[in-house]
């Protein structure tokens, strides 16, 4: 088990290093003239050169890469302040949105998938599958705008923005987050329900489920004891991989609802050509995704004796 975790950790580190290289190379490709963009079009070329030198952008690439990694996350060219604090605040805001979305969608998706599987082939199964699959292909800004039209404009129940006034209590903040969270939930529901359904169907058709039925176990007990335990394992992995997807969704939802999370920060950094900020955001997104999938992988193997034993061999 320890070797399995170490191996998995090693692979994650290699992937992380590759990602950092990809992000760095993308950052180099981005058209930017840091000295010029800070000092403005009227500054003397010598001043621009001096600032470029101070920022280190005139050094060899390898030196720059090393400097970037050792001084991560660095300084924003746009705000001329360290990126760290801005990034952590934004990450915290996004976390609120993400956690709220997961708290809603995970139980909903799993229940949807199980109901679907238990009614395999019946109209309710088809309905859940088709609604789920359709919902996951509707872009967040489309469902978001329709929700705004209905609940903010027509009915006036919920606010148009996601940012609650400063100092608001927990429930006021929650109220502001309801509309932004629904588009994310709609997209994620389809994936989770589909995996839960597939896992449950597979478990229902398995030999052990049949044995349990033949030995006279009531269906409810059989499903609870034998089917669900096995069927929910793959769902855990899917939930983890959806984190990456969720962050993509956050960019759109945060822009639509004007919410200052990491999605908005990334979007603004790209628009303002604030390369250090953009690189920091993107690498952070990658790290978050990798940590979550790593935890899911290890959790999955801890829960699944087959993988645990195979890894031990």
């Amino acid at each position: 088990m320890v070797t399995f975790i170490l191996k998995r950790l090693g692979l994650a580190l290699i992937t992380l290093w590759l990602l950092s290289v990809i992000v760095f190379v993308l950052g180099q490709v981005l058209p930017s003239d840091p000295g010029r963009s800070v000092l403005g079009p009227l500054a003397a070329p010598s001043a621009v050169r001096a600032l470029d030198h101070q920022l280190g952008v005139d050094k060899p690439l390898l030196t720059q890469y090393w400097h970037w990694i050792t001084h991560f996350p660095g300084t924003s060219t746009q705000y001329q302040t360290p990126i760290g604090p801005i990034l952590t605040t934004a990450l915290g805001e996004s976390l609120k949105l993400a956690v709220f979305a997961f708290v809603l969608v995970v139980p909903l998706g799993i229940i949807g998938g199980i109901v679907s599987a238990l009614n395999f082939g019946k109209p309710i199964d088809r309905t859940i599958s088709i609604v789920g699959q359709s919902a996951l292909t509707v872009p967040e800004f489309v469902s978001g705008i329709v929700l705004i039209l209905i609940f903010s404009i027509a009915l006036g129940w919920l606010p148009v923005t996601a940012t609650a006034p400063p100092g608001s209590g927990f429930f006021t903040q929650l109220k502001y987050l309801i509309l932004p969270v629904i588009p994310l939930v709609l997209v994620l529901f389809g994936y989770i329900a589909r995996m839960a359904r597939a896992g449950t169907v597979e478990a229902l058709e398995s030999d052990y489920a049949r044995t349990a039925t033949l030995k006279g176990l009531p269906r409810g007990v059989m499903i609870r004891r034998h089917v669900l335990r096995n069927s929910l394992l793959p769902t855990i992995t899917v939930i983890a991989t959806q984190t990456g997807y969720l962050i993509g969704g956050l960019v759109v939802v945060e822009v639509l609802f004007r919410y200052n999370g990491i999605g908005m920060l990334t979007y603004n950094a790209a628009n303002q050509h604030d390369i250090p900020m953009l690189e920091a955001c993107v690498l952070t997104i990658g790290i978050v995704y990798m940590i979550v999938t790593l935890i899911a992988d290890i959790g999955f193997s801890l829960l699944n004796p087959r993988i645990r034993l195979r890894a031990a061999e």
């Binding site: 692979l11 290699i14 992937t15 992380l16 590759l18 990602l19 990809i22 993308l26 490709v29 981005l30 058209p31 599958s129 088709i130 699959q133 359709s134 996951l136 292909t137 509707v138 872009p139 967040e140 800004f141 489309v142 469902s143 705008i145 329709v146 705004i148 039209l149 903010s152 404009i153 027509a154 148009v160 990456g244 997807y245 962050i247 993509g248 969704g249 960019v251 759109v252 822009v255 639509l256 990334t266 979007y267 790209a270 628009n271 050509h273 953009l278 993107v282 997104i285 990658g286 995704y289 990798m290």
Partner: protein, 294 residues
């Protein structure tokens, strides 16, 4: 999930078997209600995309500053926008770009992904490991984020969107193809071809490829829906088609600001257009999967 489970007897029978399977597939699809509904909606949008300018009652570009923000009426079915342009015409003509870009991007990704997936699955070992690491690293970034970076780096054009989405889809499709190939490569017909002394390329593309076409087709339809999703999201973020082009994502982004003033028609019809298009593609995708998995 392989569709072709025919025992390998001789090449002729296999060939006949494949055509048979394809015909059977079409017959089953025609009986599928989801497929019919999906393809009907898609067909309507394709017609709009091809003949848009002829169908549209007004030019999508003509501004009328005396008739801005007009609610839907007989003269303007979907109302007019902030520049007095006819929303109905803009929605119809707006289908063109997305219906050209999305299939091209998906096709690019499918072709590259299939090639890489075949290589990864067939050779396994080091090639598989190295490519797999790169795939993992790329997948750690959400597509929208990759798109935002790439489009700010390389400039905002349809060609860049096609290439970026195609390249991002490549590893995703490669992964699916790889999994299918891993199963196929253990079968007798591959061993037989190897014994016959066929080259790796021949075995991959002539022997294995036709037998993994089912998963590839499913992957194409699923990715197409996702390509539409992503492209419209990028145009909504202002990174795709630029004004004054009629585009659903772009129109929602530009008109979103006036929604609180009550001009709901300037975004609602674009939203409905997008929803019907993506739902039609996912209905088709669902039907294809249903038929192939049976």
């Amino acid at each position: 999930m392989s569709i072709v489970d025919i025992p390998v007897e001789d090449a002729g029978a296999l060939q006949a078997g494949r055509t048979e399977v394809r015909r059977e597939l079409l017959r089953e699809l025609r009986h599928s209600k989801t497929f019919l509904v999906g393809s009907t909606i898609l067909l309507i949008w394709i017609i709009c995309a091809i003949f848009g300018s002829a169908i549209a009652p007004h030019s999508p570009y003509t501004q009328n500053l005396l008739g801005i923000n007009k609610a839907p009426s007989g003269a303007h079915l979907f109302g007019t926008d902030q520049l007095g342009r006819d929303m109905f015409s803009r929605v119809i003509v707006g289908s063109r770009d997305i219906l050209v870009i999305a299939p091209l991007a998906t096709l690019l990704g499918t072709v590259c992904g299939t090639a890489i997936g075949l290589v990864m699955g067939y050779f396994r070992g080091v090639v598989d490991d190295v490519l797999g690491r790169f795939v993992e690293a790329f997948l750690a970034l959400p597509l929208v984020v990759t798109g935002v970076i790439a489009l700010s780096a390389l400039g905002r054009s349809n060609l860049v969107i096609i290439i970026v989405i195609g390249l991002v889809f490549t590893p995703l499709i490669a992964r699916t193809v790889r999994a299918a190939v891993l199963l196929e490569r253990e079968l007798d017909y591959v061993a037989a071809a190897r014994l016959r002394g066929e080259g790796s390329l021949y075995i991959m593309f002539v022997e294995i490829l036709p037998n993994v076409s089912g998963p590839i087709l499913v992957e194409f339809t699923v990715r197409l829906a996702y390509a539409i999703f992503t492209i419209l999201t990028l145009t909504f973020l202002g990174l795709g088609v630029q004004p004054p082009s009629p585009d659903w994502g772009l129109d929602i982004a530009t008109n979103y600001g006036v929604v609180p003033a009550g001009y709901w028609w300037e975004v609602l019809f674009d939203a409905i257009a997008i929803a019907t298009l993506v739902v039609s593609v996912s209905l088709i995708s669902d039907a294809v999967q249903g038929v192939l998995e049976r």
